[in-house]
Symmetry: C2
DNA sequence: ATCCCAACTGAACGTCCGGTCGGTTATTTG
DNA sequence: CAAATAACCGACCGGACGTTCAGTTGGGAT
């Protein structure tokens, strides 16, 4: 019997369950790298013996699989949600960027791990394949928005999409949730920079040129 | 005696020297990850025995050190060059972006490896420290440009600089030099997207609105 | 022809790796 | 109190890891 709520009552000896163990494991994987983390090091960080880990998961592989799937499931849910937006493709694209930033913030450690996968094992190669599928959807969306005339025509849409999500994905390198900056707030910032650039935009109407010349 | 030119004549048994070995090693490190690459695997890719590698370098560490230093030296040279540009800070910034893209293209495998360093060893930690120093210079430059009013004031300059170079650095994920796209051409594209955004800019003068409606 | 020298080999080494196994401890349920 | 349940331990295994070492190979220079 699993209690549907906060599961404060759990049978057996208390300690880690699969979920809490995964949280710590992914954290360590991100600090030292997946290949750079030994099961022994991981067990020390968990405060339990190495063999205890195998009570929860079948091996190191499964920890990675659980992590990257959680990231990918989030990203595909974001894509599905964005595709449902009616109207212009560029609006779907902006929605996708916002939703992706949301997933990135909510599941930061998992997405971080996903973005560093190299393809050494079957688990990694499958993750990379799913990720490429996501990237293809983004590229298609950008191409569609370009065809509708809402994306700058002087850059190849394939490159635009890569630079756009290159910027989005780079969040994992520095964003830390401790700050009071919410996900939506961050998504706003990313959209501003990504869609209209880092340069100060020129005043839209040349009539109201009452801007002072500085200090 | 080292011949100053193409060094087509070299003493001793022919084979790898430190440089040609480094090229292959960095390539393999980028494919499988540094920690994920064993000296045995590396020796197979080189076509020589494992122990032969130690004739050229002191160990796996040195290969990594040589690689990341080559990337960092390039980036700092780019920074120095950019700082020498007179005029507005935003011009120095654009120069720095272009020069950084240039380094990224010229030394792609080395920069790729640098950007994936996690800090497990002393070599890695020192590389990360130097990289943070570079990032600090970028952040200062963006802050200066913002103070001069050339960067959009509605986003924290610290975040702007991170997103900007997040986009630049994401090039290592997909750019491959085989295409005929030159570094300068790519730098132009990156500057366009980064400084003025992915969205189609509104026509600057509303008089010439003779744009056709499509196909 | 011979010397030099850089490149290379093969067999080890101690250590760490991911994973296994049989048994133990702590908590909830009835 | 048992019974059921879930988490955990310590010793161990075979193999892969980075590295070492005493020698060997092969081409350029003289």
């Amino acid at each position: 019997m699993t209690t549907a709520d906060g599961r404060q009552t759990r049978r057996g000896r208390p300690g880690y369950d699969k979920e809490s163990l995964l949280q710590v494991a992914v954290k360590v994987f991100n600090e030292r790298g997946y290949d750079g983390t030994s099961m022994d090091e991981l067990s020390k960080r968990l405060g339990i013996s190495k063999s205890a880990i195998y009570h929860h998961v079948s091996g190191k592989d499964e920890l990675l699989r659980l992590a990257v799937d959680r990231a990918l499931d989030g990203l595909f849910a974001a894509a599905e949600q964005a595709m449902a937006v009616e109207g212009r493709a560029v609006d779907r694209l902006e929605h996708l960027v916002r939703a992706s930033v949301g997933v990135l913030v909510d599941r930061l450690p998992f997405v971080t791990l996903l973005l560093r996968v190299r393809g050494n094992t079957t688990v990694e190669r499958r993750a990379m394949a799913r990720r490429r599928e996501f990237d293809r959807m983004v590229a298609d969306l950008v191409a569609q928005a370009a065809a509708e005339g809402d994306i700058r025509p002087d850059v190849d849409p394939a490159i635009t999409s890569r630079l756009l999500f290159g910027m989005v994905n780079s969040l994992v390198e520095w964003y830390r949730p401790q700050g009071r900056r919410s996900g939506a707030e961050l998504a706003d910032t990313v959209c501003k920079i990504a869609f209209t650039g880092v340069r100060r935009p020129r005043p839209p109407d040349p009539q109201s040129s009452a801007v002072s010349g500085g200090s």
